[in-house]
Protein backbone atom coordinates (compact mmCIF):
# COMPACT_ATOMS: atom_id res chain seq x y z
CA UNK A 1 0.00 0.00 0.00
CA UNK A 2 1.49 3.39 -0.95
CA UNK A 3 2.54 5.65 1.92
CA UNK A 4 0.07 8.38 0.93
CA UNK A 5 -2.80 5.93 0.96
CA UNK A 6 -1.70 4.50 4.30
CA UNK A 7 -1.64 7.99 5.69
CA UNK A 8 -5.14 8.77 4.40
CA UNK A 9 -6.45 5.54 5.95
CA UNK A 10 -4.88 6.63 9.23
CA UNK A 11 -6.73 9.92 8.93
CA UNK A 12 -9.96 8.02 8.31
CA UNK A 13 -9.40 5.88 11.39
CA UNK A 14 -8.72 9.03 13.39
CA UNK A 15 -11.95 10.59 12.10
CA UNK A 16 -13.92 7.50 13.13
CA UNK A 17 -12.42 7.90 16.58
CA UNK A 18 -13.31 11.61 16.62
CA UNK A 19 -16.90 10.81 15.62
CA UNK A 20 -17.20 8.25 18.41
CA UNK A 21 -15.76 10.67 20.96
CA UNK A 22 -18.13 13.44 19.83
CA UNK A 23 -21.03 11.02 20.01
CA UNK A 24 -20.13 9.92 23.52
CA UNK A 25 -19.54 13.45 24.81
CA UNK A 26 -22.76 14.81 23.26
CA UNK A 27 -24.78 11.83 24.52
CA UNK A 28 -23.52 12.39 28.07
CA UNK A 29 -23.74 16.18 28.16
CA UNK A 30 -27.21 16.62 26.67
CA UNK A 31 -28.19 20.22 25.95
CA UNK A 32 -25.67 21.90 28.21
CA UNK A 33 -22.23 21.04 26.83
CA UNK A 34 -19.91 22.85 24.43
CA UNK A 35 -21.09 20.66 21.55
CA UNK A 36 -24.64 21.91 21.98
CA UNK A 37 -23.19 25.43 22.09
CA UNK A 38 -21.51 24.78 18.75
CA UNK A 39 -24.81 23.48 17.37
CA UNK A 40 -26.55 26.67 18.45
CA UNK A 41 -23.80 28.89 17.02
CA UNK A 42 -23.77 27.14 13.65
CA UNK A 43 -27.57 27.09 13.56
CA UNK A 44 -27.66 30.86 14.13
CA UNK A 45 -25.00 31.43 11.47
CA UNK A 46 -26.78 29.23 8.93
CA UNK A 47 -30.29 30.53 9.63
CA UNK A 48 -30.02 33.75 7.56
CA UNK A 49 -28.91 31.68 4.56
CA UNK A 50 -31.81 29.30 5.03
CA UNK A 51 -34.16 32.23 5.48
CA UNK A 52 -32.99 33.85 2.26
CA UNK A 53 -33.36 30.67 0.26
CA UNK A 54 -36.74 29.95 1.85
CA UNK A 55 -38.03 33.40 0.85
CA UNK A 56 -37.22 32.58 -2.77
CA UNK A 57 -38.32 28.97 -3.00
CA UNK A 58 -41.34 28.79 -0.70
CA UNK A 59 -43.82 30.39 -3.14
CA UNK A 60 -42.57 28.09 -5.90
CA UNK A 61 -42.62 25.10 -3.57
CA UNK A 62 -46.14 25.91 -2.43
CA UNK A 63 -47.29 26.00 -6.06
CA UNK A 64 -45.79 22.61 -6.90
CA UNK A 65 -46.84 21.24 -3.53
CA UNK A 66 -50.42 22.24 -4.26
CA UNK A 67 -50.29 20.44 -7.62
CA UNK A 68 -48.93 17.34 -5.95
CA UNK A 69 -51.69 17.43 -3.37
CA UNK A 70 -54.52 17.98 -5.83
CA UNK A 71 -56.02 14.54 -5.26
CA UNK A 72 -55.88 14.89 -1.51
CA UNK A 73 -57.33 18.42 -1.69
CA UNK A 74 -60.27 17.14 -3.74
CA UNK A 75 -60.95 14.45 -1.15
CA UNK A 76 -60.66 17.01 1.62
CA UNK A 77 -63.07 19.27 -0.22
CA UNK A 78 -65.69 16.53 -0.43
CA UNK A 79 -65.23 15.71 3.24
CA UNK A 80 -65.42 19.37 4.24
CA UNK A 81 -68.61 19.91 2.26
CA UNK A 82 -70.16 16.97 4.06
CA UNK A 83 -68.96 18.33 7.39
CA UNK A 84 -70.39 21.77 6.54
CA UNK A 85 -73.76 20.25 5.78
CA UNK A 86 -73.79 18.45 9.15
CA UNK A 87 -72.66 21.58 10.96
CA UNK A 88 -75.47 23.62 9.39
CA UNK A 89 -77.96 21.04 10.64
CA UNK A 90 -76.55 21.34 14.12
CA UNK A 91 -76.28 25.13 14.04
CA UNK A 92 -79.47 25.76 16.00
CA UNK A 93 -78.56 23.42 18.85
CA UNK A 94 -75.01 24.82 18.90
CA UNK A 95 -76.37 28.34 19.26
CA UNK A 96 -78.42 27.12 22.20
CA UNK A 97 -75.39 25.51 23.75
CA UNK A 98 -73.34 28.67 23.26
CA UNK A 99 -75.99 30.76 24.98
CA UNK A 100 -76.24 28.26 27.81
CA UNK A 101 -72.47 28.24 28.09
CA UNK A 102 -72.39 32.02 28.40
CA UNK A 103 -75.03 31.94 31.08
CA UNK A 104 -73.18 29.27 33.02
CA UNK A 105 -70.00 31.29 32.82
CA UNK A 106 -71.79 34.29 34.28
CA UNK A 107 -73.43 32.18 36.94
CA UNK A 108 -70.24 30.59 38.07
CA UNK A 109 -68.42 33.89 37.94
CA UNK A 110 -65.75 32.30 35.81
CA UNK A 111 -63.46 34.51 33.90
CA UNK A 112 -63.51 34.30 30.17
CA UNK A 113 -60.74 32.29 28.74
CA UNK A 114 -57.54 34.31 28.61
CA UNK A 115 -56.61 35.72 25.25
CA UNK A 116 -52.93 35.65 24.53
CA UNK A 117 -50.79 37.90 22.39
CA UNK A 118 -49.08 35.88 19.70
CA UNK A 119 -46.72 36.50 16.86
CA UNK A 120 -46.68 34.44 13.70
CA UNK A 121 -43.56 32.81 12.34
CA UNK A 122 -42.85 30.89 9.19
CA UNK A 123 -41.02 27.59 9.28
CA UNK A 124 -37.93 28.23 7.21
CA UNK A 125 -36.05 24.98 7.61
CA UNK A 126 -36.94 21.49 8.53
CA UNK A 127 -34.31 19.54 10.46
CA UNK A 128 -31.82 17.88 8.13
CA UNK A 129 -32.34 14.16 7.93
CA UNK A 130 -35.00 12.01 9.48
CA UNK A 131 -35.79 11.48 13.12
CA UNK A 132 -34.83 14.91 14.34
CA UNK A 133 -37.42 16.82 16.22
CA UNK A 134 -36.81 20.53 15.96
CA UNK A 135 -37.29 23.19 13.32
CA UNK A 136 -36.30 26.76 12.64
CA UNK A 137 -38.70 29.71 12.40
CA UNK A 138 -38.06 33.20 11.06
CA UNK A 139 -38.80 35.19 14.22
CA UNK A 140 -36.55 35.78 17.20
CA UNK A 141 -35.62 38.21 19.95
CA UNK A 142 -36.42 41.18 17.73
CA UNK A 143 -40.02 39.98 17.62
CA UNK A 144 -40.28 39.39 21.36
CA UNK A 145 -39.61 35.67 21.27
CA UNK A 146 -37.87 34.18 24.31
CA UNK A 147 -36.82 30.70 25.36
CA UNK A 148 -39.50 28.34 26.68
CA UNK A 149 -42.39 30.18 25.03
CA UNK A 150 -45.15 27.93 23.71
CA UNK A 151 -45.50 27.42 19.98
CA UNK A 152 -48.92 26.53 18.60
CA UNK A 153 -50.80 26.27 15.35
CA UNK A 154 -54.48 26.06 14.50
CA UNK A 155 -54.61 22.46 15.75
CA UNK A 156 -52.90 22.89 19.11
CA UNK A 157 -49.51 22.66 20.75
CA UNK A 158 -46.56 22.39 18.37
CA UNK A 159 -43.71 22.69 20.86
CA UNK A 160 -41.65 25.29 22.64
CA UNK A 161 -38.79 27.66 21.89
CA UNK A 162 -35.41 26.27 22.90
CA UNK A 163 -32.94 28.63 21.23
CA UNK A 164 -33.38 32.25 20.19
CA UNK A 165 -31.19 34.51 18.11
CA UNK A 166 -31.99 38.03 16.91
CA UNK A 167 -34.12 37.02 13.97
CA UNK A 168 -34.63 33.27 14.32
CA UNK A 169 -35.70 30.69 16.84
CA UNK A 170 -35.45 26.94 17.15
CA UNK A 171 -38.60 25.09 18.12
CA UNK A 172 -38.34 21.79 19.94
CA UNK A 173 -41.35 19.81 18.74
CA UNK A 174 -43.67 18.43 21.39
CA UNK A 175 -43.09 14.94 19.96
CA UNK A 176 -39.35 15.21 20.62
CA UNK A 177 -38.17 12.50 23.01
CA UNK A 178 -36.47 15.29 24.96
CA UNK A 179 -39.74 17.20 25.43
CA UNK A 180 -41.88 16.95 28.53
CA UNK A 181 -45.08 18.81 29.41
CA UNK A 182 -47.39 18.94 32.37
CA UNK A 183 -50.90 18.22 31.12
CA UNK A 184 -54.40 17.40 32.28
CA UNK A 185 -57.20 15.37 30.79
CA UNK A 186 -60.17 17.65 30.19
CA UNK A 187 -62.92 15.12 30.94
CA UNK A 188 -61.53 13.51 34.07
CA UNK A 189 -59.30 16.34 35.36
CA UNK A 190 -56.50 13.83 35.87
CA UNK A 191 -53.04 15.30 35.71
CA UNK A 192 -50.01 13.81 34.15
CA UNK A 193 -46.69 14.25 32.50
CA UNK A 194 -46.58 13.99 28.73
CA UNK A 195 -43.40 12.92 26.96
CA UNK A 196 -42.66 12.90 23.26
CA UNK A 197 -41.58 9.65 21.64
CA UNK A 198 -40.71 10.69 18.12
CA UNK A 199 -42.78 8.82 15.57
CA UNK A 200 -44.58 6.86 18.25
CA UNK A 201 -47.65 8.22 20.06
CA UNK A 202 -46.77 10.56 22.90
CA UNK A 203 -46.62 8.94 26.32
CA UNK A 204 -48.85 10.20 29.12
CA UNK A 205 -47.92 9.27 32.65
CA UNK A 206 -50.97 9.73 34.91
CA UNK A 207 -49.82 11.11 38.24
CA UNK A 208 -53.00 11.24 40.28
CA UNK A 209 -55.63 8.56 40.68
CA UNK A 210 -53.85 6.04 38.45
CA UNK A 211 -56.62 3.48 38.95
CA UNK A 212 -59.30 5.65 37.34
CA UNK A 213 -60.27 4.75 33.82
CA UNK A 214 -59.41 7.18 31.07
CA UNK A 215 -61.78 7.10 28.08
CA UNK A 216 -60.30 6.71 24.64
CA UNK A 217 -60.62 9.95 22.72
CA UNK A 218 -60.40 12.11 25.85
CA UNK A 219 -58.76 15.46 25.17
CA UNK A 220 -55.40 16.35 26.71
CA UNK A 221 -54.49 20.01 27.34
CA UNK A 222 -51.47 21.71 28.89
CA UNK A 223 -51.09 22.79 32.51
CA UNK A 224 -48.89 25.72 33.51
CA UNK A 225 -45.29 24.77 34.30
CA UNK A 226 -43.16 26.20 37.03
CA UNK A 227 -40.24 27.95 35.42
CA UNK A 228 -41.69 28.03 31.90
CA UNK A 229 -44.13 30.09 29.89
CA UNK A 230 -46.53 27.42 28.68
CA UNK A 231 -50.06 28.67 29.35
CA UNK A 232 -52.79 26.49 30.69
CA UNK A 233 -55.39 24.89 28.46
CA UNK A 234 -53.67 24.57 25.08
CA UNK A 235 -55.05 21.51 23.28
CA UNK A 236 -52.36 18.87 22.82
CA UNK A 237 -54.06 15.73 21.55
CA UNK A 238 -56.35 12.82 22.39
CA UNK A 239 -55.94 9.54 24.22
CA UNK A 240 -55.71 6.81 21.63
CA UNK A 241 -54.13 3.92 23.50
CA UNK A 242 -55.12 2.19 26.68
CA UNK A 243 -52.42 1.72 29.31
CA UNK A 244 -49.48 -0.01 27.68
CA UNK A 245 -47.55 -0.44 30.89
CA UNK A 246 -47.86 0.12 34.59
CA UNK A 247 -44.65 0.84 36.40
CA UNK A 248 -44.54 1.92 40.02
CA UNK A 249 -48.29 2.53 40.08
CA UNK A 250 -48.20 4.91 37.12
CA UNK A 251 -50.32 4.51 33.99
CA UNK A 252 -48.78 5.13 30.60
CA UNK A 253 -51.25 6.12 27.91
CA UNK A 254 -50.68 6.82 24.25
CA UNK A 255 -51.63 10.32 23.07
CA UNK A 256 -52.04 11.28 19.43
CA UNK A 257 -51.08 14.95 19.01
CA UNK A 258 -53.49 17.23 17.18
CA UNK A 259 -50.74 19.10 15.36
CA UNK A 260 -49.27 17.31 12.36
CA UNK A 261 -45.57 17.91 12.88
CA UNK A 262 -44.67 16.85 9.37
CA UNK A 263 -46.74 19.61 7.78
CA UNK A 264 -45.97 22.85 9.54
CA UNK A 265 -45.79 26.13 7.70
CA UNK A 266 -46.99 29.02 9.86
CA UNK A 267 -46.87 28.76 13.64
CA UNK A 268 -47.75 31.13 16.47
CA UNK A 269 -45.55 31.92 19.44
CA UNK A 270 -47.42 32.91 22.61
CA UNK A 271 -45.66 36.03 23.87
CA UNK A 272 -47.51 37.10 26.96
CA UNK A 273 -47.99 33.93 28.97
CA UNK A 274 -46.43 34.86 32.32
CA UNK A 275 -43.55 32.70 33.40
CA UNK A 276 -44.51 30.90 36.58
CA UNK A 277 -41.74 31.31 39.13
CA UNK A 278 -40.16 28.08 40.24
CA UNK A 279 -40.72 28.94 43.89
CA UNK A 280 -44.22 30.34 43.41
CA UNK A 281 -45.80 27.83 45.73
CA UNK A 282 -42.97 27.03 48.05
CA UNK A 283 -44.35 29.41 50.68
CA UNK A 284 -47.36 27.11 51.04
CA UNK A 285 -45.26 24.04 51.60
CA UNK A 286 -43.26 22.95 54.61
CA UNK A 287 -39.53 23.25 53.94
CA UNK A 288 -38.92 19.56 54.44
CA UNK A 289 -41.70 18.45 52.11
CA UNK A 290 -40.32 16.67 49.05
CA UNK A 291 -40.82 18.22 45.62
CA UNK A 292 -43.42 17.02 43.21
CA UNK A 293 -42.20 14.30 40.93
CA UNK A 294 -40.42 15.44 37.83
CA UNK A 295 -40.48 13.51 34.54
CA UNK A 296 -37.36 11.76 35.72
CA UNK A 297 -39.02 10.56 38.89
CA UNK A 298 -40.55 7.17 39.21
CA UNK A 299 -44.10 8.30 38.56
CA UNK A 300 -45.54 7.86 42.05
CA UNK A 301 -48.93 9.57 42.43
CA UNK A 302 -48.95 13.07 43.88
CA UNK A 303 -49.84 13.23 47.52
CA UNK A 304 -50.77 16.92 47.51
CA UNK A 305 -54.28 18.02 48.24
CA UNK A 306 -56.36 17.33 45.14
CA UNK A 307 -57.84 20.80 44.86
CA UNK A 308 -54.52 22.53 45.34
CA UNK A 309 -52.92 20.18 42.86
CA UNK A 310 -55.57 21.00 40.30
CA UNK A 311 -54.72 24.67 40.36
CA UNK A 312 -51.02 24.87 40.93
CA UNK A 313 -48.46 24.44 38.23
CA UNK A 314 -46.38 21.33 37.88
CA UNK A 315 -42.63 21.42 38.20
CA UNK A 316 -40.83 20.34 35.09
CA UNK A 317 -37.30 21.28 34.21
CA UNK A 318 -37.33 23.80 31.38
Amino acid sequence: MPAARRRRRSILALLVLVALVLLTVDFRQGDEGPISGAQRALGSAFAPLQNGVAAVVQPIGSFFGAIGQLGRLRQENVALEEELRELRERQVSLADLARENDELRELLGMQQRLEHTTTAGRVIAQPPGLFRWSLLIDIGEEHGVRENMAVINADGLVGKITDVSAGHSRVQLAVSPNAGYSVRIVDTRQQGLLSGRGTRPMQLNILDDPEAEVPLGAEVVTRAFEGTSIPDGIPVGVIEETPAAEIGGAQFLGVRPYADHTRLDIVLVILDAPEVPVDAFEADEPDDEPDEPSPDDDGEPLEADEEAAATRPARIPA
Binding site: L23, D26, Q39, L42, Q126, P127
Partner: protein
Protein backbone atom coordinates in the same frame (compact mmCIF):
# COMPACT_ATOMS: atom_id res chain seq x y z
CA UNK B 1 -5.91 22.10 -2.60
CA UNK B 2 -7.42 25.22 -1.01
CA UNK B 3 -9.50 25.90 -4.12
CA UNK B 4 -10.73 22.33 -4.09
CA UNK B 5 -11.61 22.39 -0.40
CA UNK B 6 -13.44 25.71 -0.90
CA UNK B 7 -15.37 24.35 -3.87
CA UNK B 8 -16.42 21.21 -2.03
CA UNK B 9 -17.27 23.27 1.05
CA UNK B 10 -19.50 25.48 -1.05
CA UNK B 11 -21.06 22.40 -2.62
CA UNK B 12 -21.78 21.07 0.86
CA UNK B 13 -23.50 24.29 1.95
CA UNK B 14 -25.61 24.33 -1.22
CA UNK B 15 -26.53 20.68 -0.73
CA UNK B 16 -27.53 21.34 2.91
CA UNK B 17 -29.70 24.28 1.80
CA UNK B 18 -31.31 22.16 -0.91
CA UNK B 19 -32.05 19.37 1.54
CA UNK B 20 -33.35 21.48 4.45
CA UNK B 21 -35.13 24.28 2.61
CA UNK B 22 -35.79 23.64 -1.07
CA UNK B 23 -36.78 19.96 -0.99
CA UNK B 24 -38.63 20.50 2.28
CA UNK B 25 -41.16 22.36 0.13
CA UNK B 26 -41.71 19.36 -2.13
CA UNK B 27 -41.34 16.57 0.39
CA UNK B 28 -42.93 13.21 -0.43
CA UNK B 29 -44.91 11.90 2.55
CA UNK B 30 -42.78 14.16 4.73
CA UNK B 31 -39.47 12.82 3.42
CA UNK B 32 -36.84 14.64 1.38
CA UNK B 33 -33.98 13.30 -0.75
CA UNK B 34 -30.64 12.92 1.01
CA UNK B 35 -28.87 15.49 -1.16
CA UNK B 36 -25.84 15.70 1.13
CA UNK B 37 -25.39 11.92 0.99
CA UNK B 38 -25.56 12.16 -2.80
CA UNK B 39 -22.66 14.61 -2.80
CA UNK B 40 -20.72 12.15 -0.63
CA UNK B 41 -21.46 9.49 -3.24
CA UNK B 42 -20.26 11.85 -5.97
CA UNK B 43 -16.96 12.61 -4.23
CA UNK B 44 -16.41 8.92 -3.49
CA UNK B 45 -17.08 7.94 -7.12
CA UNK B 46 -14.79 10.69 -8.37
CA UNK B 47 -11.91 10.37 -5.92
CA UNK B 48 -12.11 6.99 -4.18
CA UNK B 49 -12.69 5.60 -0.71
CA UNK B 50 -10.41 7.73 1.46
CA UNK B 51 -11.41 11.15 0.07
CA UNK B 52 -15.02 9.97 0.03
CA UNK B 53 -14.78 8.97 3.68
CA UNK B 54 -13.15 12.23 4.73
CA UNK B 55 -15.68 14.34 2.82
CA UNK B 56 -18.43 12.16 4.32
CA UNK B 57 -17.16 12.89 7.83
CA UNK B 58 -17.18 16.66 7.22
CA UNK B 59 -20.61 16.52 5.57
CA UNK B 60 -22.05 14.40 8.36
CA UNK B 61 -20.61 16.67 11.02
CA UNK B 62 -22.24 19.69 9.36
CA UNK B 63 -25.60 17.91 9.27
CA UNK B 64 -25.21 16.89 12.91
CA UNK B 65 -24.46 20.45 13.95
CA UNK B 66 -27.33 21.86 11.88
CA UNK B 67 -29.85 19.22 12.84
CA UNK B 68 -29.81 19.43 16.61
CA UNK B 69 -29.45 15.67 16.96
CA UNK B 70 -26.60 13.64 18.41
CA UNK B 71 -23.35 15.07 17.09
CA UNK B 72 -21.11 12.45 15.53
CA UNK B 73 -23.85 10.07 14.39
CA UNK B 74 -24.27 11.38 10.85
CA UNK B 75 -20.51 11.95 10.64
CA UNK B 76 -19.92 8.26 11.36
CA UNK B 77 -22.64 7.11 8.96
CA UNK B 78 -21.56 9.36 6.07
CA UNK B 79 -17.89 8.58 6.56
CA UNK B 80 -18.76 4.90 6.23
CA UNK B 81 -20.98 5.61 3.22
CA UNK B 82 -18.25 7.55 1.43
CA UNK B 83 -15.64 4.92 2.11
CA UNK B 84 -17.92 2.04 1.06
CA UNK B 85 -18.98 3.71 -2.20
CA UNK B 86 -15.38 4.59 -3.02
CA UNK B 87 -14.24 1.05 -2.27
CA UNK B 88 -16.98 -0.37 -4.50
CA UNK B 89 -16.06 1.94 -7.37
CA UNK B 90 -13.74 -0.50 -9.23
CA UNK B 91 -16.52 -3.09 -9.33
CA UNK B 92 -19.26 -0.80 -10.70
CA UNK B 93 -19.91 -1.39 -14.36
CA UNK B 94 -22.55 -0.03 -16.67
CA UNK B 95 -23.68 3.36 -17.92
CA UNK B 96 -22.77 6.21 -15.56
CA UNK B 97 -26.38 7.36 -15.29
CA UNK B 98 -27.48 3.92 -14.08
CA UNK B 99 -24.62 3.77 -11.59
CA UNK B 100 -25.48 7.19 -10.22
CA UNK B 101 -29.16 6.29 -9.79
CA UNK B 102 -28.60 2.87 -8.23
CA UNK B 103 -25.65 3.76 -6.03
CA UNK B 104 -27.18 7.11 -5.04
CA UNK B 105 -30.50 5.52 -4.10
CA UNK B 106 -28.93 2.61 -2.24
CA UNK B 107 -26.48 4.86 -0.41
CA UNK B 108 -29.23 7.26 0.66
CA UNK B 109 -31.49 4.42 1.84
CA UNK B 110 -28.61 2.65 3.63
CA UNK B 111 -27.41 5.84 5.31
CA UNK B 112 -30.93 6.63 6.50
CA UNK B 113 -31.40 3.08 7.75
CA UNK B 114 -28.01 3.04 9.48
CA UNK B 115 -28.66 6.41 11.12
CA UNK B 116 -32.05 5.17 12.34
CA UNK B 117 -30.69 1.88 13.68
CA UNK B 118 -27.85 3.62 15.55
CA UNK B 119 -30.31 6.15 16.93
CA UNK B 120 -32.60 3.31 17.99
CA UNK B 121 -29.73 1.67 19.85
CA UNK B 122 -28.87 4.93 21.62
CA UNK B 123 -32.36 6.32 22.22
CA UNK B 124 -34.89 3.51 21.61
CA UNK B 125 -37.98 5.67 22.19
CA UNK B 126 -37.34 7.91 19.20
CA UNK B 127 -38.36 5.72 16.27
CA UNK B 128 -40.48 2.79 15.24
CA UNK B 129 -39.27 0.11 12.86
CA UNK B 130 -42.14 0.83 10.46
CA UNK B 131 -41.25 4.54 10.31
CA UNK B 132 -37.61 3.62 9.80
CA UNK B 133 -38.42 1.21 6.97
CA UNK B 134 -40.82 3.64 5.31
CA UNK B 135 -38.44 6.56 5.73
CA UNK B 136 -35.46 4.66 4.34
CA UNK B 137 -37.41 3.37 1.33
CA UNK B 138 -38.95 6.72 0.37
CA UNK B 139 -35.70 8.60 0.97
CA UNK B 140 -33.84 6.04 -1.17
CA UNK B 141 -36.31 6.28 -4.04
CA UNK B 142 -36.54 10.07 -3.91
CA UNK B 143 -32.75 10.32 -3.75
CA UNK B 144 -32.42 7.96 -6.72
CA UNK B 145 -34.61 10.36 -8.71
CA UNK B 146 -32.37 13.30 -7.79
CA UNK B 147 -29.10 11.36 -8.12
CA UNK B 148 -28.55 11.91 -11.87
CA UNK B 149 -28.28 15.64 -11.18
CA UNK B 150 -26.68 15.72 -7.73
CA UNK B 151 -24.10 12.94 -8.20
CA UNK B 152 -23.16 14.06 -11.69
CA UNK B 153 -22.79 17.68 -10.63
CA UNK B 154 -20.58 16.65 -7.72
CA UNK B 155 -18.36 14.46 -9.88
CA UNK B 156 -18.00 17.24 -12.45
CA UNK B 157 -17.11 19.74 -9.74
CA UNK B 158 -14.66 17.38 -8.05
CA UNK B 159 -12.89 16.70 -11.34
CA UNK B 160 -12.93 20.26 -12.61
CA UNK B 161 -11.28 21.88 -9.62
CA UNK B 162 -7.54 21.81 -9.98
CA UNK B 163 -5.47 20.35 -7.17
CA UNK B 164 -5.29 17.26 -5.13
CA UNK B 165 -8.10 15.12 -3.86
CA UNK B 166 -9.73 15.66 -0.51
CA UNK B 167 -7.62 14.26 2.28
CA UNK B 168 -4.40 14.05 0.30
CA UNK B 169 -1.34 14.61 2.35
CA UNK B 170 0.46 17.27 0.41
Amino acid sequence: MIARAAALGLLLVVAALLETVVFAEIAVAGYVPAVVVLTVVGVALADGPEPGGIYGFVAGLLMDLLGGGLVGLSALVMLTTGFAVGAARPYLTGPPLGIHVVVGGLAAASATLAYGVLLFLLEPAEITWSALGQGSAITGLYSAAVAPFAVRATIMLARSVEGQTVGSSS
